[in-house]
C-alpha cells in the first residue's frame, strides 16, 4: 500500500494524470466522449492494426529520447535534435546512393555515416559552449536551422531525383535497406535503438563514467571538485547525443520509402516528443524507455482517435506538453552553470 501511495504522490504520476484529466476536459469541450476517445487511442495504437506503426514510432521516439536524455543526465539540454537528425539522414542517403560496395556493407556504412554526421554536428554545439561561451541550449538550437536548410537544399537541387515533383533524393539501390520483421514496417532499427537503451542503462548504473555523468547532473560544482573535466564531458555527451539522433535519421532513410524526403524526418516532431519523454523520465534509462513508449502510443493512437471522434489528433501534442508543464512546475533539474551564463 505504501508503495502505491508513494507512486501516486510522485510528480511523474501526478503530471501524467493531470495531462489525462485536462485532455478529457478538452474532449468534453469539443463534444466528444473522453472514454470513447481514450479507448480509440489505446485500441488504435496497441491493437493488431496499430502495433506495427507504434513500434516504428517507438524506434524514432526512443532513439531521440535517448539522444536527449544522455546529456540531460548531466544537466545539459540539447535542443538541436532536428538538425542532427536530418544531417544523419542525409549522410546515410548519400552513402547509400554512392557507395560501390555490396548492399549489407553499404547499409552498415550508411548507419555509421549517419551517426558520424550527427555526432560531428552536435559536437560543434558543444564547442560553441566550451570555447565561445554560447550556452549549449542556444547554440544547439540555432545550429539546427542551418542544418535543416542545408539538407533541404541538397534534396531540392543537387541530389534531387530527376523528373520527380517531390523534394526527394533517388531511391536507394535494391537491398540497401534495413531488414524488416515479416511484412511489417518494423525494422532492425528498433533492435539497434533498444540496444542503445540497454547500453545507456549499463553505463549509467555500472560504470565510472555513468557515475560521473549523474554526479555532474546532481551538482556540477561538486563533480568539478571531484575531478570531472566539464568541457570534455560536454563534448563527449553531445557527440554521443548527436550520434544517436543521426542514427535515427539513418534508420529513417534506410526504411520505407528508402530515400531522403525533405521534411519527412522532422515533420512528425520526434525530437520534441523525445525531449518530453526524456524530461518526464528525468533522463533515467528505464524511465526513458517507458515514457517513449507512452508518447508513441499517444502519437499513433491520436490518429485513430481522430477517425473515431473527429477530434483533431493535435490534442495528443497538447496533452504531452501539459504533462511537462505540470512536471516542470514541481521538479527542479540542477543547472547552475547554464543559469549563470544566461544571466550575463
Amino acid at each position: 500500500m505504501n508503495r502505491i501511495a508513494g507512486a501516486l504522490r510522485s510528480p511523474v504520476t501526478f503530471s501524467v494524470l493531470a495531462g489525462v484529466v485536462i485532455g478529457a476536459l478538452f474532449l468534453v469541450g469539443t463534444g466528444a466522449d473522453p472514454f470513447t476517445a481514450y479507448g480509440a487511442v489505446l485500441s488504435g495504437s496497441l491493437g493488431a492494426d496499430g502495433i506495427g506503426s507504434t513500434l516504428t514510432t517507438v524506434t524514432s521516439v526512443l532513439g531521440l529520447a535517448l539522444a536527449l536524455a544522455i546529456p540531460l543526465r548531466a544537466g545539459l539540454i540539447n535542443l538541436g535534435g532536428d538538425g542532427q537528425l536530418v544531417l544523419g539522414g542525409m549522410a546515410a542517403a548519400v552513402t547509400g546512393l554512392y557507395t560501390p560496395l555490396p548492399a549489407p556493407l553499404t547499409v552498415l556504412l550508411a548507419l555509421l555515416a549517419g551517426m558520424a554526421a550527427g555526432a560531428g554536428y552536435a559536437a560543434l554545439a558543444a564547442l560553441c559552449e566550451n570555447h565561445f561561451g554560447v550556452p549549449l541550449l542556444v547554440s544547439s538550437l540555432l545550429l539546427s536551422y542551418p542544418a535543416s536548410s542545408l539538407a533541404s537544399y541538397l534534396a531540392r537541387y543537387p541530389l534531387k531525383e530527376p523528373g520527380s515533383s517531390l523534394p526527394q533524393t533517388r531511391q536507394l539501390p535494391d537491398g540497401v535497406a534495413l531488414p524488416a520483421f515479416g511484412s511489417s514496417t518494423v525494422t532492425v532499427g528498433l533492435l539497434l535503438v533498444v540496444l542503445a537503451a540497454a547500453t545507456y542503462w549499463f553505463t549509467d548504473r555500472r560504470t565510472a563514467i555513468g557515475y560521473e555523468i549523474r554526479m555532474t547532473g546532481l551538482n556540477s560544482r561538486f563533480a568539478a571538485y571531484a575531478g570531472v573535466e566539464r568541457r570534455g564531458l560536454t563534448l563527449r555527451l553531445m557527440a554521443t547525443s548527436g550520434a544517436l539522433a543521426g542514427l535515427v535519421g539513418a534508420i529513417g532513410v534506410l526504411s520505407f520509402p528508402y530515400r531522403f524526403l525533405d521534411g519527412a524526418l522532422t515533420a512528425p516532431g520526434y525530437t520534441w516528443t523525445g525531449l518530453t519523454a526524456a524530461l518526464l523520465a528525468g533522463a533515467a534509462p528505464l524511465g526513458t524507455v517507458l515514457a517513449s513508449f507512452f508518447f508513441a502510443v499517444l502519437q499513433v493512437g491520436g490518429l485513430s482517435m481522430e477517425r473515431t471522434t473527429e477530434v483533431p489528433r493535435e490534442l495528443t501534442q497538447v496533452l504531452q506538453a501539459i504533462v511537462i508543464v505540470f512536471l516542470a512546475a514541481r521538479l527542479r533539474f540542477p543547472r547552475g552553470r547554464l543559469r549563470k551564463k544566461a544571466a550575463v
Binding site: G133, V134, Y153, Y157, P312, Q317, A321, R335
Partner: protein, 288 residues
C-alpha cells in the same frame, strides 16, 4: 545598389516582432527570471490576434486580445517558476511545445483547416507612414523601458530583485511581485509581437508561424545584455540579416541559404560579443 533605403525599411519591418518579444525577455532577465517561453507566448498572440480580428472584423481588438491572451499564457511561467519554484528552462520549453499543439488544435476546431488559415476578408493592421502602428509602439517601448530601468524607482527595484532577491526582500521589496510583473509584461509584449507577425508582417495564421523568432529574441536579450538599447541593436542585426536574405533571394540565391542566414548571423554575433567580453573579464592565464 544593395544597401539602400528599401533594405533598411524592410529590415525595420522585420525587426518589430523580435524587438517586442526581446524587450519582454529583457525585463524578465532583469528581474531574475530566465524566460525562454517567448516563442510560445508569441505564437499564442498570433493565433488570438487572427481569431479575434476574424470574428470581430477589427484588427485593433485582435491586438488587444493577443496581448491579453499571451499575458494570461505567461502566468504558466509566473506561477510555475516564481511561486512553485519550478525549473524555468523546462517550463519555457513546455510552454513553446504547448503553444504549437494548442494553436494547431484550435486552428482545426475553430476554422476547420490544417496548416494555414488565410482569408482575403481577414482584416490586418493599417500602415502609418510605411510602418505598422505596432512598430512605433515598439520603438516607444524601448525608450520607456530605458527610462524605467535606469531612472525610475520601479526599474531600480526590478533590477534589485533580479540581482539580490534577498536584499530586496529585506528592504521590503517583494521579489515575487516584481517577477510576476516582469513575466506578465513580457506576455503582453510577446502578444503584441505575435499580433504584429500575424496581422502586420502578413495577414494569416499558419502552424508554428513564429518559426524560431522567439528564440532569436532570447538570443537578442543575451546579445544586448538585457539593456533595451542593446536589445534594439541586436534585433536590428537580425532584421538586416532577414532583409538581406530576401534581397539575395531576389538575386538568385536559393531560398534555403537565405532562410538560414539570420540564424548564422545571430550565432556569429554571439561568438564575437561573448569572446570579447570573456577576454575583458577573464584575467590572463585563468581557466574559466
Amino acid at each position: 545598389m544593395f544597401f539602400d533605403s528599401d533594405l533598411l525599411m524592410s529590415a525595420l519591418r522585420a525587426l518589430t516582432p523580435i524587438l517586442l518579444a526581446a524587450l519582454g525577455g529583457a525585463l524578465c532577465e532583469r528581474a531574475g527570471v530566465f524566460n525562454i517561453g517567448l516563442e510560445g507566448m508569441m505564437l499564442m498572440g498570433c493565433f488570438t490576434a487572427v481569431t479575434t480580428s476574424w470574428f470581430t472584423g477589427s484588427p485593433w481588438l485582435g491586438v488587444l486580445a493577443a496581448a491579453l491572451a499571451a499575458a494570461a499564457y505567461s502566468l504558466i511561467l509566473a506561477v510555475g517558476a516564481v511561486t512553485l519554484r519550478g525549473d524555468a528552462v523546462v517550463l519555457g520549453i513546455a510552454m513553446n511545445l504547448l503553444s504549437v499543439g494548442l494553436t494547431s488544435f484550435l486552428l482545426r476546431t475553430v476554422f476547420g483547416v490544417q496548416g494555414t488559415f488565410d482569408d482575403p476578408s481577414l482584416a490586418g493592421l493599417p500602415l502609418v507612414g510605411g510602418f505598422s502602428p505596432l512598430a512605433y509602439l515598439a520603438w516607444a517601448a524601448v525608450a520607456v523601458a530605458t527610462l524605467m530601468l535606469s531612472r525610475h524607482v520601479w526599474g531600480l527595484r526590478l533590477r534589485g530583485v533580479g540581482e539580490a532577491p534577498r536584499a530586496a526582500a529585506t528592504l521590503g521589496v517583494s521579489p515575487a511581485k516584481y517577477q510576476y510583473a516582469a513575466v506578465l509584461l513580457s506576455g503582453v509584449l510577446c502578444g503584441l509581437a505575435g499580433a504584429q507577425l500575424a496581422l502586420g508582417n502578413v495577414t494569416l495564421f499558419s502552424e508554428n508561424m513564429t518559426a524560431g523568432r522567439g528564440w532569436i529574441a532570447v538570443v537578442a536579450v543575451m546579445l544586448g545584455r538585457a539593456l533595451p538599447l542593446g536589445v534594439l541593436l541586436a534585433a536590428l542585426l537580425f532584421g538586416l540579416a532577414e532583409a538581406a536574405g530576401f534581397r539575395l533571394q531576389g538575386l538568385g540565391l536559393p531560398q534555403q541559404a537565405t532562410d538560414a542566414a539570420p540564424y548564422v548571423v545571430t550565432l556569429g554575433a554571439l561568438f564575437l560579443t561573448t569572446a570579447r567580453r570573456r577576454r575583458r573579464t577573464t584575467p590572463a592565464g585563468a581557466v574559466s
